[in-house]
Symmetry: D2
Subunit: 502 residues, 4 copies
């Protein structure tokens, strides 16, 4: 989901979320959501809360849970902040009874994006003539502005600034007589990336868009079932991983079983390759292998492509760790923790004073000075986005007396924004959009800077022959600029696509 603030903005909530900015992390792409649902269990909300906790890395700003109970009907709770802080007290969880529930965690906006309201926190709920439904959406609707205009013209009243709300209004206006069919109807009007978990009084529904850009997996949980963005959330609730929901598939799950069908026109799948690089948790399973192993393989591939003589391989913690281990194993250069992460930075300083803001990355990372002094260091990071953090890390490590600093990046240069559910800076803020690799090396001021090749990345994720350029096996738009779905709202508001640009 994303925000498309209309010209006359609906009333903003005065809740100040600026403190949620994660200092130093505005130099990462940010997954925008995690979704989870269960049916056929006692106290569904407890499982949803645990699942969302395990998916917290996909969104830290806010979370919500909706449940249904025969006696009290639909109930919901939506809050800013972490799952562990909001959805664990007996008092809150008691308000969410019933055997079925879904939940959503959303990303932490960066300060410049403006304030988010509790109204924008999912799941969204709608009451239809045949009963209520709630939906939780991961991804981004690329024609949301056009849909919104059309729906308002017809008399729908939007309560949020979220693209995802379009789905529930389209459902409300569908002529179909049951909720799963209304949902199909609605999603056929929607362009872009969507993995959706939805619920009615008795049914848990999961859908992935025809390209399967965002992940969604199915698990068996006791006598019931669970749907989750990633397998790591199945582990935490003790569910058994059954399979991924397929691109374009819709599953309708009741306590008694699963029905599957494919309501959309079939297309070649385009799973987001960045889920392998950074978004997913290392203990999740993608394509039958742990994400950790894939990242270690990326590190090995990176070492093969870009070797260098050095004393130690250090990860930029924590996301560079598996690739650094792979690099070390491949190269034989010892692995060491040259940079230590402060564990008490889950969120950053609230309302930081000016002097603290200027301390930048030092609040979060510290160089192991005694260790790196005089050494030639290979620093392995997952990606370079703006390059701001990379520069600061380089400075810190040189201040500490390192003899040489070699950056090795576990993904190709990030040169294009993502419009499919990821928080990316504008194109002109992406270092790789405006500089060559050599200019970047100079800009960062390091002894060498090397990225894994796009083919190398494809090999590491299991495509032995590398990228199929005529029909790439993944969505890699952020590296290649080849967008599998035209981002029509963005084009309308001025974004220039690659083909047009060149």
């Amino acid at each position: 989901m994303s925000h498309t603030p209309p010209k006359t903005m609906p009333p903003a909530h005065p809740f100040d979320t600026s403190y949620l900015t994660d200092a130093g992390d505005d130099d990462k792409l940010k997954e925008e959501c995690g979704i989870f649902g269960v049916v056929g269990v006692t106290d569904a909300a407890n499982f949803v809360a645990l699942g969302l906790h395990a998916l917290q890395h996909r969104g830290q700003e806010a979370g919500g849970i909706v449940t249904h109970d025969a006696e009290v009907g639909f109930q919901s709770a939506r809050r800013f902040g972490y799952v562990r802080d909001n959805f664990t007290s007996q008092k809150v969880m008691e308000t969410l009874p019933g055997p079925i529930g879904i939940g959503h965690v959303r990303y932490s906006t960066s300060g410049s994006k403006g304030q988010t309201a509790i109204r924008d926190v999912q799941p969204f709920f709608g009451e239809f003539a045949m009963g209520g439904a709630a939906i939780a959406h991961n991804g981004n609707i690329t024609n949301a502005n056009a849909l919104r205009r059309e729906l308002i013209e017809r008399g729908s009243i939007f309560q949020s600034s979220s693209d995802s709300e379009c789905i529930i209004h389209l459902m409300a206006r569908s002529l179909q007589r049951n909720i799963p069919e209304r949902m199909e109807d609605a999603l056929r009007r929607v362009e872009g990336a969507f993995s959706v978990v939805a619920m009615t009084r008795t049914k848990l529904i999961g859908v992935r868009d025809p390209l399967g850009v965002r992940p969604l997996v199915l698990g068996k949980l006791g006598d019931g079932y669970a749907l989750s963005s990633e397998t790591c959330a199945l582990d935490i609730v003790g569910a058994e991983f059954i399979r991924e929901i397929e691109p374009g598939e819709m599953v309708v799950i009741t306590a008694s079983g699963i029905q599957s069908h494919f309501p959309f026109r079939r297309q070649p799948s385009k799973f987001c390759i960045f889920e392998h690089v950074y978004f997913s948790r290392p203990d999740s399973i993608l394509g039958g292998r742990s994400v950790y192993e894939t990242r270690e393989a990326i590190g090995r591939e990176l070492a093969k492509e870009n070797p260098v003589d050095a004393d130690m391989v250090c990860p930029v913690p924590d996301s560079g760790t598996p690739a650094a281990i792979g690099y070390s194993l491949q190269s034989g250069i010892p692995y060491a923790m040259g940079i230590i992460r402060n564990q008490y930075m889950g969120r950053t300083f609230i309302e930081p004073t000016e002097s603290i803001r200027n301390m930048g990355v030092r609040l979060k990372l510290n160089v192991n000075r005694a260790l790196v002094k005089g050494k030639r260091i290979i620093l392995v990071d997952d990606s370079v986005v703006r390059g701001t953090t990379s520069r600061k890390i380089k400075e810190m490590i040189l201040d500490a007396g390192a003899a040489e600093v070699h950056f090795r990046i576990a993904s190709p240069p990030t040169a294009w924004p993502c419009f499919y559910g990821v928080d990316t800076p504008d194109r002109d803020k992406l270092l790789a959009a405006t500089m060559t690799e050599d200019e970047m090396r100079e800009h960062l001021g390091v002894d060498s800077l090397k990225f894994i090749s796009l083919d190398g990345l494809y090999r590491a994720v299991g495509e032995a022959k590398g990228r199929n350029n005529s029909c790439p096996q993944y969505c890699d738009a952020c590296f290649s600029g080849e967008y599998p779905v035209i981002p029509s709202d963005k084009v309308e508001s001025g974004f220039v696509m690659k083909s047009a640009a060149e």
Copy 2:
């Protein structure tokens, strides 16, 4: 506005408002809302906050303000609690810029009514194709359930459980091309009582239903204008009282002037007589006279109709005070404060412990023991609803050694619930619905109990000939059972009207 919780309730907010119950005051009818709006001033929100503060007696549970500013568009803030606690900090008020704004305060639900959500707090906002609008509603829509069903069937998604939300959805679906006309269109579908203050980007709109059940007045504020439930809120902002909005009138006010028209079929007006008795503030002006004077006149009338020999006339504070003064002036029996109100009970004890709950009215009122001992006391109260507080007061005053207790009530027996924007108990909880005056006297255990007659009340409010029984000059349904608008939702759900009952 009121709540019409549908069978499958939309998700309730976990905010616990149970503590808001005003101990001992569940024995009063409660006005459900106050509304206020200004246009053509600098920093409209400050004036709206002051106006709502002056109208706080009309609703203590929550309040909201919407403003519009050319630069930032519509902004809103809605909060539980008092105006003085929510709408005074620089931080909040800065989020509400602009020269036009409206606001709303709503009543404090009694515990048994269930929890209210922030979603239910007005003003409500809707974004239409031609721009946004916000509305604040005082009154109650008696066909809200039917309207809601119809709107949902057509694909509207309700966000609250409030009857007032129907108005904004009807507006969204209207075929008219500007907002005031859409509002007329919407209100023509609405039955019941409504005084509405609404706003677009540039227009402040005020409407009263054809019967004019709820009050609404117009004032001149500097170069701009103000609309308010009562004149006391004009005083606080320094506005000059111009006139009452007439029953069935709609005014559309811009910075440059006022347009008035009458979009509804004309009917004989039926202003709520209980506004004179209890709801309005004594310093407000109704019908050219201060409410205080009217209440003093009620006291005089009561003394004429029901004299008794006694040592002192004491009000049940604070609402019985003006009538007690009138009774004293008429009867010549000295006025005295035999019961003292604790000033620190604005709201009652949060989450009261069991032993405190049982202390009942003693937390709030204390008898002036040394004063009343051995005396014959006339206690003047504004009304008897359930009779629970009256009984406790009687006990306290006898405990303190009073020789005799005579209750004199400044309104006729309250025998019927109100469906026009007042929080009343079910009919079977109303003492006067099940007992004769004599049974009530016995139930309360006092030496005498007398109510003012309905004719006496009409005389006191200025109708020299008393009530015109063929076409009463006021809505007095709570006393007479004669409902000027059929409460169709209630009838549908089983309420038996007087004609049918007898």
Copy 3:
């Protein structure tokens, strides 16, 4: 108790209490404390909380309760804000078990006084070799600075900036072997005004200073006993008023009985006459008569001394009400509520915006415009301190079209500060310290201004022959400048006493 901030201030708490200022009420003298204690009951804390609630008018800033239970020992809770907001939740009250407890409410500092810390909130607790003790103090120690210096010199560590803490340190250092004797020992070193309620594990102790400046009363509560600043707090817990503690008396109460003795040198009593005028609640009993009746008598006396031809007698609400009733009864001029108080101003606006601050008294009081227009009004107020509120009220009432305004004040001119536990402005801020009655009339801009005479006040409180000038029956220093105890700390820091001044 009061604050004597030493030069190197102990660390202040960052709690911001500035919002506690009661708008418009900085023109009143403020009682600084209320104290309450019980022994021999189940769940003493519940009774203490109720008692403090009834004494809330004596201090609104903060409150505290200490209890003792055989199993968990001494427990305490101290909080900023109202009793009803802090000491009613099951969660808090469960932390305060046991059959004995004491409590304290303290005044609301005016903004200029600086911030108060939770450390300054009583009761104070000390652990001695023979067990713990807690004390709650109403009054002010006039030699606190000297005592503090001496105690620090000997190695005591002060935790608050309160004068009252001296008592507990003096007790800690006493050579006596039990706590009541240590308390006697300590209080013999103390000068000034003190009513103290204290407790050990099993004993409830009450003491009044030899002059009996501040009140303290004894009640029977079930099988146990209660001590309270005023009788109104006995009423709320259902205790029977036995008697006042006498000046200079110490009572030591256990579940089994009361021991009384007089540890100080006997002196003529000097009860604070302002308790009659303003501090005490009208339903409390002082000298066998309700405070309400005394105030009504003051009003009658005022009418005799200062008659004037007018149309109505109006109180400045709420404190002027009983005297206005008395004035009306004596003069035969009708009593009416020409000024209405907003009931939702228990505390004032939090963090008021600039425009609100300038609205002054209008937030709290509104003139009943329709009533006063064209009328000659007698306004009765309890006192004139700075005169700021009086001026604003006069303006409001003239704005509303009153023909004449006559102020009648139910106390003599307040020309001297109080140093015995009352929050008064510096002398040069007191209107009557710098102006004659005629100058004051002109300053306030009213048609006439009259104060009751000092003799008239003495007559009204029951001294038929008026004031005994050779040995006044009350402390009336605020009117007369005759201080019964030399305020030595103040003299040391530059205060000039009357004898010296003249």
Copy 4:
């Protein structure tokens, strides 16, 4: 510092800290405090806040800062929770002006320990005749109970239940005429472990006990100086590490320079060896080498002493990581992250529901199932305390299909409690106190369990010849039971020392 709750406990604060329990971490020894101070800088509080943030691993429950400014004197703020949440807002930091300041973070009590009050949060402040002083203490006073009894007997009033408060009372009663001398005087009466940072108006003081059990280092910060528990906190403020304060040394630092002397009788130093194993941050420098390198060396030593044939070496994150890397480097068995830590568990679930509590360690750690399946795993952890977490981890890893599990522990068996400022369970809760190594292996249900030897540990920390048993170079009481200072309070209350036990 620690708590020595006296029989009649001082009043407990109702603040509920039970939520602070770090799930799964009650199986670690916990350092109880971190201390930091600066002098000679602008806005000292900002530096103190940063320093405390870097020392947060030494105490998560609460923190406090005291500063002194010529204009406003001493100021303090003490709060529950993380530094980043409390000491970063402009609003709080503005209350702490001045060029000198000290701060303290304290540990997170486990639930069973009972509630802590804000009164117990350091720094402690005392006002003496010659001015104020504040102290922050890391360590534990082993004769605190006896000192407390003596001080109370003399008339001191304790405000906390902390042992550290004795120091400030001893200072208050010292006959010396300046504060550093009073501090010497006080500390000569104190037994046990103490690193203290203190401040007067102008002086920053640092002291270590004669054995130097707890760390304390000195840094140069601009024109001023800093004292810190660890060097990592010097890094964050940009200070240069000068040297460690020596055992038994007192430094008195002003803006103009440092004076050093040794007020205690010299003794052989006994630095806590567990600081190397677990307490200190890996990027801190102890004995000229990074703690990370020492831990890697421990891992190498462990691999030499206890080799085993396996497929991968996995750390128990995060504390086992450096030793696991060392083990891998020494053994040649690949290092891999078989267990993934949830980054959003800084603190645990607030008020966890029952079902969540039972999920135990799964909230925090997840096994990388796809990675470990079928593999022989060496798990490296820093220590085994109760063994509860170790058991759960073993279960998780076997559930995930590991073929073999071999535990390797980077410290000797923890068989004795620490009384020098570490939160350890009672002796009978320590697994190694009641079981042999073989019994432990069986209890944990793993294929093998091996601890590093005490000599091996000494070698890894740099003692080439291992432990000098006649006079050990470190305090290793938790492993050896040889306490360098008799814990007299504990012995008095029944603790049986080794010599006596055997």
